[in-house]
């Protein structure tokens, strides 16, 4: 177990180090998220006011879109110079590599989400911070659910030629439950009369989704990655 965590930490530290050098992923993903929210604003704001309930949808769709972008980039870096092969050749528990990459993506998305939440709250006049802790829980669980599936898919698609197209094609249908749970949970928090009981239902559903899909991903990573 210690070795597992050690390998995970090595991969995370490596990714953070690379990112701190060129900040490419962070800046491109942030900028993409900002453009996304803006584009949605022109779709969902009428006469200076956001259409009712649109904020929660915009928030989660932006997360899904920028998440896809980040996932693709995170593994493009491993494909470049065939570094992935170097990782897979190492005598480590391969799921540790998966967890390392997942944590890296989660950290990046956490930064992106911090910005997106503020933007959506501001541009869509949504009371997102009214139940801040609930929103934080929803966002964390939802992002883990989305990224755990996404990290596996992105890793396994590295071997295919049309990976850029295939990632969203595979990822969105499979993660629709996350989107439904996230959007509905957030809506329950921001509607004029917040429904905390309903929010709790969505949070617990997300929690089970995460457990099932992280387990499944850890379990399938090794057989899917060997040729």
């Amino acid at each position: 177990m210690r070795r597992f965590l050690q390998v995970t930490w090595l991969v995370v530290r490596k990714d953070l180090r690379v990112e701190s050098r060129n900040k490419e992923m962070l800046l491109t993903t942030l900028f993409f998220a900002v453009s996304c929210v803006l584009v949605f604003s022109f779709g969902f704001v009428r006469g200076g006011e956001a259409i009712e309930g649109s904020a929660s949808g915009v928030l989660w769709i932006t997360i899904a879109f920028s998440g896809t972008l980040a996932l693709g980039r995170a593994f493009e870096r491993e494909r470049h110079h065939d570094a992935l092969r170097g990782l897979l050749m190492a005598p480590v528990d391969r799921p540790a590599i998966y967890v390392g990459k997942l944590v890296g993506v989660l950290l990046l998305l956490a930064v992106v989400e911090a910005l997106v939440v503020v933007m959506v709250a501001f541009l869509f006049q949504a009371p997102l911070f009214r139940h801040g802790w609930w929103l934080l829980t929803l966002l964390s669980l939802g992002t883990i659910g989305f990224a755990s599936v996404g990290t596996l898919f992105s890793a396994m698609l590295l071997r295919t030629r049309s990976r850029a197209v295939l990632l969203p094609v595979l990822l969105y249908p499979v993660t629709i439950p996350v989107l439904i749970m996230g959007v509905s949970g957030t809506f329950a928090l921001v509607q004029p009369e917040p429904d905390l009981v309903l929010a709790r239902v969505w949070v617990s559903l997300l929690f089970f989704f995460d457990i099932v899909f992280v387990t499944l991903a850890l379990w399938t990573f090794e057989p899917v990655m060997t040729e």
């Binding site: 210690r2 070795r3 050690q6 180090r17 690379v18 897979l88 050749m89 190492a90 040729e227």
Partner: protein, 259 residues
């Protein structure tokens, strides 16, 4: 950290190894024995299956038929401890250009669970004559420097089986010389070295044995004459295309029963 279980072997045996994707055959019933202290050259034109063969040897790719044994172990039985004994330098160098030379080495030393990773990295940098550039980003390195670094990264964990895919491409003469010396050291140290290349000039003095891979089929090169002559002769002999349809199923080989 817990020491990895030592998996020792002095021979790698391939028997009847085939690999195919649907109908495309990449390797066809390859039989080969690799022994310690030998540098074996796998020669052949592009697309002959050299990379596939190295991939199978590296344990990353599974043969469709036949088996590969490292000592007595198969790749699936060997698992991670077996991978700890294999070094693989593919044509792509498996380095992170955004990291420094030292960081690259320390990262892989950590992955391999080596003790004293910093010292190991330091020594490896000295061997690659990159001590002065240790803290520069690999991005700024020339092909030769990258290749020297990648070579030391491959050898960092002292693997028993070392695989090289076209290691001489794009190297200047000095880097070539370093690589040749390093390969000879590996032979003396009793490692199993496999070299896939189509560059005959550099390797002709180096190889203990040469095999030819063509259209996925392997044949030994004779021992008469220079390497170039033998290569030419073997190429002329090697099968050029599909033979006529066999009349019965008697010709099918092991593991290929067409039933």
């Amino acid at each position: 950290m817990p020491p990895l279980q030592i998996t020792d072997f002095t021979q790698v045996t391939l028997s009847g190894v085939s690999r195919h994707y649907g109908r495309r055959r990449a390797l066809s019933r390859v039989n080969l024995v690799l022994s310690a202290g030998e540098i074996i050259g796998v020669l052949g034109p592009n697309g002959a299956g050299k990379s596939t063969l190295l991939g199978v040897l590296s344990t990353l790719a599974e043969p469709s038929n036949g088996d590969v044994r490292y000592g007595d172990l198969t790749a699936s039985a060997g698992g991670a401890p077996l991978r700890a004994q294999v070094g693989f330098l593919s044509h792509e160098l498996q380095l992170y250009p955004e990291l420094t030379a030292r960081e690259n080495l320390e990262f892989f030393a950590g992955l391999y669970g080596l003790d004293r990773p910093a010292e190991r990295a330091h020594e490896a940098l000295a061997r690659a004559s990159l001590s002065e550039r240790a803290d520069d980003l690999v991005e700024g390195f020339s092909r030769g420097m990258r290749q020297r670094l990648a070579l030391e990264r491959t050898l960092l964990h002292a693997p028993r089986l070392v695989l090289f895919d076209e290691p001489f491409t794009g190297l200047d003469e000095a880097s070539c010389g370093t690589l040749v010396t390093r390969l000879q050291q590996l032979r003396t140290a009793g490692r199993i070295v496999v070299l896939a290349t189509h560059d005959l000039d550099v390797v002709s003095q180096l190889l203990d044995r040469a095999v030819l891979l063509r259209m996925g089929r392997l044949s030994e090169l004779g021992s008469k004459g220079s390497l170039r002559e033998r290569y030419r002769a073997a190429l002329a002999e090697a099968p050029r295309g599909r033979r006529p349809v066999p009349s019965g199923p008697s010709g099918s080989g092991p593991g290929e029963s067409p039933a």
